[in-house]
Homo-oligomer: 466 residues x 2
Amino acid sequence: MQKFWSWILPVLVGVILWFLPHPQGIEADAWHLLAIFVATIVGIILKPLPMGAVAMLGITLTVTLGIVTINQGLSAFGNRVIWLIVIAFFISRGFIKTGLGARIAYRFMSILGKRSLGLAYGMIATDLVLAPAIPSITARSGGVIYPLLRSIARAYGSDPDDGTSRKIGSFLIKASFQGTVITGGMFLTGMAANPLAAKLALEQGVEITWAGWASAALVPGLLSLLIIPWVLFKLYPPEIKETPAAAEMARAELEKMGAMKFQEWIMLFTFVLLLVLWIFGSLVGLHSTTAALIGLGVLLVSKTLTWDDILKEKGAWDTLVWFSALVMMASFLNELGLIPWFGERVGNWLNMDNWLIAFVLLSVIYFYSHYFFASATAHVSAMYLPFLTIALAMGTPPMLAALVLGFFSNLFGGITHYGTGPAPVLFGSGYIDMKDWWRLGGLASVINISVWFVVGGIWWKIIGLW
Amino acid sequence: MQKFWSWILPVLVGVILWFLPHPQGIEADAWHLLAIFVATIVGIILKPLPMGAVAMLGITLTVTLGIVTINQGLSAFGNRVIWLIVIAFFISRGFIKTGLGARIAYRFMSILGKRSLGLAYGMIATDLVLAPAIPSITARSGGVIYPLLRSIARAYGSDPDDGTSRKIGSFLIKASFQGTVITGGMFLTGMAANPLAAKLALEQGVEITWAGWASAALVPGLLSLLIIPWVLFKLYPPEIKETPAAAEMARAELEKMGAMKFQEWIMLFTFVLLLVLWIFGSLVGLHSTTAALIGLGVLLVSKTLTWDDILKEKGAWDTLVWFSALVMMASFLNELGLIPWFGERVGNWLNMDNWLIAFVLLSVIYFYSHYFFASATAHVSAMYLPFLTIALAMGTPPMLAALVLGFFSNLFGGITHYGTGPAPVLFGSGYIDMKDWWRLGGLASVINISVWFVVGGIWWKIIGLW
């Protein structure tokens, strides 16, 4: 039954919108594209087919119905922001393949892991270090960190099957989950939908660079990463506070791994090179996607990654397709005049004396509407552009508005057990019951919003965003 | 050692060309791009890394060295001709997954398979039917047909291990191999490098449509498909001439398969729809890529193909990358003025009274230079555009020149045991020794060239290509 409606609703919404009389000042093509766009978003939310397939059908409809030409319909496949994230997916495979990701985690564990709070910080530090180059938070949190957490929890006799979750597993998993939504928000390449937000912002004339995103997020991000685990440690404490065996285990694993292998060095070198190029490249006119291409080139030439590794990186190809479809539609909604028209209308309705309060309110609505979304991408593609348009119409400084909505597009992932990629994986471990997951997620969201608005607000004032 | 040179040579060629003083009238950027392009082609031929990786490095160099912007460097990823072939790869998976490909083969076998010559024609008929929608000749010949040939050969006690190859296996494999290079040449979507040729021709202002390619190839193609197996049957005869058991086996397999399944019907419907849209779509302004998108949409919505089938279709993603890299470079060689300059120069040197003889000679050189290439793509990307430019400068009618070089880009695959995807597979079966492979390949090439020039020439005159 649910399956049935997941098919019917997108079609129904699209057809109704299509035939609805369109407002004056809007061309028929723009209106029809809006109908297909909304139907695609509803499809991405309800998932009659996986996101990529729905997106592909969206492109198919758009070109078949003659709203854009086939050239225009495919144009976004050559978009540099999309390729930034696709190439980052390829590169991130190198962390897992070479074992460098695990080594970094063990290193932090061996240093910080003697107490359970330190262990949580160690995992979050790993996550933070990997975030710039692993845009799949599911790969980062679910692939690198979660396996370690499970083995630590088991080593301390904490297992949901025996009712011993709260010994240590619950705390570690919850803390690292809340950490990953923050680290994702700190880098343009930290989460797959961040470049989508950046691209949509560009439609409104706001160009977010890699370095610009990272520097704005730095202060509130680090503060959130410090506060949240500590609050969880107080309000959701593990029974075991001292964990010498974890640090011991990490040291043993490091010993077993031996010295850094050649390919790990290459991976490390590539990673540092990438960071340097992403941070300073814009000074010499090197686009972040070119930097990513260079990094990938190093990994290919050194055979750290084989071409077959690239071809079977399904997440990358999936991202290429859905991202291109959404960007194409959003671009043409803009080009055909619908988004400017919407912005103008909103500007006329809203007559704000104080954009600040209005923008805070708007962002909070944007944040908590994530209770209704099962993926950051779906949420960003549906709501980022209209909310940004409204924010700009209210007079919010453009870069501030674009970035805050971008940051929140990550932070809101922490509230439910379905709202972001790793959530179902970590929740599915069974260590945390749903009441706690939501309660603590809600609490963390309040802390995050406060930190990012208050401390972030001061920081953004200092760096001149408003 | 060979590995060493495969790395050194492309780099060396590129560096030398880069620093060579460039001829007057050519901008530095154009010359430098030529250096990278040639280095990439040499890399594709020598394969220090797989073709896709070499192509990716080509893009990386082009944008890192600032010859084109990152936007320009990625632009070809949105090219509609490239997506035509990528989507055709996806669709072709449906033939194998649903079993429709095998059913078609068994059907032809049961009708034509009572004699070994008929069996060969049956396999070629299968190949011909599948060719429009399966651009990977390796998938078509190696994936669908070769397994059947092996089981027939074994059923008749023909096995290279017992020295019984010539009983029937040698003939069947050789005939079907020579068939597949012809069927590939008959459709724009019959081989992965055909759209590359078409795209390169477009750089010279010649627009080849799907229907245009198919109609020009129809008569010489069918004639070649009739003559070659018969000649092989006479000059390289199988010991077993009557094969009632093969027809019997096919009937038994068909019985085992039972009635057409729902998804086979969908696949068949999609295939017919595609052919109709490809042939007649241009009348209503429907581009062949849009048609392919519609076909893919049908397969996705009917769940004949899952999204995961798409994501793991590595050949498609590989093609997307190498194709985009080559098209991008060729486009900018043109845009930066190198190809027009080359064409003009050639036009000044050549002062042909008779383009016809010159073009025949040129095409034959193009054909037999394939002895030096290990893939049609490498050959097309290296030689198609310069040879077409020369042909046009000599006064050859543009569409004729573009198509003949395109057809030959398939037919030349039959001469060696390494020159095209399925060749190593079929040669590797061990049924045919190298002397026979080359001897018969050489013979077939002479027949093909004669048929396509003489009968093809008359046909192309009738349909007004010259």
